[in-house]
């Protein structure tokens, strides 16, 4: 069935939308594997939205650009390591490839983490000092997003002798040729899938332990739950805010490297926008302000989106993601797991 047939035989949207249940059924497991890899990436980026929301009640819309800068960060790192962008796959052997990927990830994390801290310092802190209303923060976030995009669009090429940034996407630097490692319920699991899922799981576990089991994590939760009392306990709210931007930024940078493995189409200044929007949706889906909610929401969104793509057709992928968000919010306005960093701030 490839059209919506209304009662009375009226045909709607013929040829525009499919209901290809067969495709979903046949490819269920490979869609699941693929969806989990996208979902892992959404999850890591979503953590940045959720942590900052937790301590500041601010949707940091510029976070998608922090992610985009991470793509450039890992790219620049690889260039510094001597890789020449050509679009061809470099063959380095497994061990060396993992080392290079690791270094590139650290590069991406450093750039994104640093950029997030600078963003906080330049854009948001002056507003806090003046006690600006929430709306002003939101508009500033959107403005900062444009500033960063245009920086990469126009300024970065001038600073780097046209090596980075500019109107067009850079030639990708590809370290890994996807190759099937094993089959899972008939679905091919590639080396790229494995790297993404394993790295994302490790990072998700690390950030969960950091927030829930370390002193600084306790400080983050204290500020999220009751900022005044946190201050009375000797927590510097300003330092905690910087810390959350740093952690969120670093995870976005790591996600940026994983994303270039998943979608090796080169880095571009506008490359963070849609992904950032999806990751934000994932954070809301899981319950914004809730760390585990962001991780869960990311995975769920990634998988559902691919199921939707198989069912309705490729061009409906983004629609599925946002319709899912709307449906969940209709029945659970606080998201799947609810808000927990700042739980019951009565």
């Amino acid at each position: 069935m490839s059209a919506l047939v209304l009662a009375g035989g009226q045909v709607l949207a013929d040829g525009v939308i499919d209901f290809n249940v067969g495709a979903l059924g046949r490819n269920f497991w490979s869609l699941t594997v693929s969806g989990l890899t996208y979902g892992s990436i959404y999850a890591l980026v979503a953590v940045g939205y959720t942590l900052v929301y937790g301590v500041l009640r601010l949707i940091n819309f510029a976070h998608s650009e922090i992610f985009m800068l991470g793509m450039f960060g890992q790219y620049a790192t690889l260039m510094l390591l001597g890789f020449n962008p050509s679009g061809d796959v470099f063959q380095q052997g497994v061990l060396l490839t993992i080392v290079f990927l690791g270094v590139a990830m650290v590069g991406g994390m450093a750039v994104s983490g640093g950029a997030a801290v600078v963003l906080e310092r330049v854009a948001y802190r002056p507003l806090r000092r003046r006690g600006a209303p929430a709306l002003v923060f939101l508009i500033t976030a959107i403005g900062a997003s444009f500033v960063i995009q245009e920086f990469v669009h126009f300024v970065l090429p001038k600073l780097t002798g046209n090596a980075l940034g500019g109107v067009n996407a850079q030639q990708p630097i590809r370290l890994v040729q996807p190759s099937t490692q094993f089959e899972l319920f008939g679905a091919n699991v590639t080396n790229v899938d494995l790297v993404i899922v394993v790295a994302a799981l490790a990072l998700a576990f690390a950030v969960d332990r950091f927030v829930n089991a370390t002193k600084f994590g306790r400080g983050i939760r204290a500020v999220a739950q009751d900022p005044v009392t946190a201050t009375l306990m000797g927590v510097s709210r300003e330092r905690i805010i910087v810390l959350t931007f740093l952690v969120g930024g670093m995870l976005a940078g790591a996600a940026a490297l994983l994303y270039t493995l998943r979608v090796p189409s080169g880095v571009i200044y506008s490359g963070g926008f849609i992904l950032g929007l999806k990751a934000f949706s994932a954070a809301v889906l899981g319950g914004i302000g809730n760390l585990r909610g962001a991780l869960l929401g990311g995975l769920l969104l990634g998988v559902m989106e691919l199921y939707g793509q198989a069912l309705f057709g490729t061009e409906w992928r983004d629609v599925v993601a946002f319709v899912l968000l709307i449906l969940v919010l209709m029945f659970r306005p606080t998201g799947i797991l609810g808000e927990s960093l700042g739980k019951a701030r009565a």
């Binding site: 306790r218 400080g219 204290a222 739950q225 005044v228 201050t231 009375l232 306990m233 000797g234 960093l341």
Partner: protein, 239 residues
């Protein structure tokens, strides 16, 4: 030299002066109470001492030093620790995590020193030991107050500020909380207490100040104020 000295302290919210030129002192080892009705400026005074509310005029001296420029979170390091009004228990943290928040800034030199203070707090409040893994938000009011006081003690305060610890608690629990406050003071911790429960507070304090609409109207030893006819009428419901 008093441990805490407020001189002509004035705090305003916009154009309204909530506290108008209060002066008071707290000596080392004392238990001093601020009594007053709702809106008298008690909580505002406490917030100014802790530094979460800026001063419009006047000064706060702690241990002889003017601390007006010391940031709120740094005052904890100097030993000014507050259990705030409404208890401020972190609802999403366990009892134990809440207690650990007390020593967030004032860290212990050794694990043993930490365990000793924690053990002492759990001895003062055996109920907290039973509930140590329960989330703060699920505790009863009395238990939350125990967490708030115990958490403040984890910072080993030189000056403990208690803002209405009896608020909203059952009479028996109030008795218990006040007994523990006396006990903490007896161990040598200086306490500045804000209360509406004048009977309990005055009978246990060395000295007290009575606050009305932002100003100190009377001061003296607790027992003396307890016997004062005007105080009796206004705060103890005795005609």
């Amino acid at each position: 030299m008093p441990l805490l000295e407020l001189k002509d302290l004035t705090v305003s919210y916009g154009r309204i002066e909530a506290v108008r030129g209060i002066s008071l002192t707290v000596d080392e080892g004392e238990l001093v109470t601020l009594i007053g009705a709702n809106g008298a400026g008690k909580t505002t005074t406490m917030r100014a001492i802790s530094g979460v509310r800026p001063l419009a005029r006047g000064s706060v001296h702690f241990d002889g030093k003017d601390i007006a420029r010391v940031k709120a979170h740094e005052r904890v390091l100097q030993g000014i620790v507050q259990a705030p009004e409404g208890r401020g228990v972190f609802p999403g943290m366990t009892v134990l995590e809440n207690l650990e928040m007390g020593c967030y800034a004032r860290t212990f030199p050794t694990k043993a020193a930490h365990d000793e203070v924690l053990e002492h707090v759990l001895e003062l409040f055996p109920r907290l030991r039973e509930r140590k893994d329960q989330l703060g938000g699920t505790l009863s009011g009395g238990e939350q107050q125990m967490v708030a006081i115990g958490r403040a003690l984890m910072a080993r305060p030189r000056l403990l500020l208690l803002d209405e610890p009896s608020m909203g608690l059952a009479p028996l629990v109030i008795q218990q909380i006040f007994r523990i406050i006396s006990e903490i003071n007896g161990e040598g911790t200086t306490i500045l207490l804000v209360e509406q429960n004048a009977q309990q507070a005055l009978s246990r304090s060395h000295r007290a100040y009575i606050l009305e609409t932002g100003e100190v109207v009377k001061t003296g030893p607790g027992t003396e104020l307890l016997a004062d006819p005007a105080v009796k009428q206004a705060y103890l419901g005795v005609a």
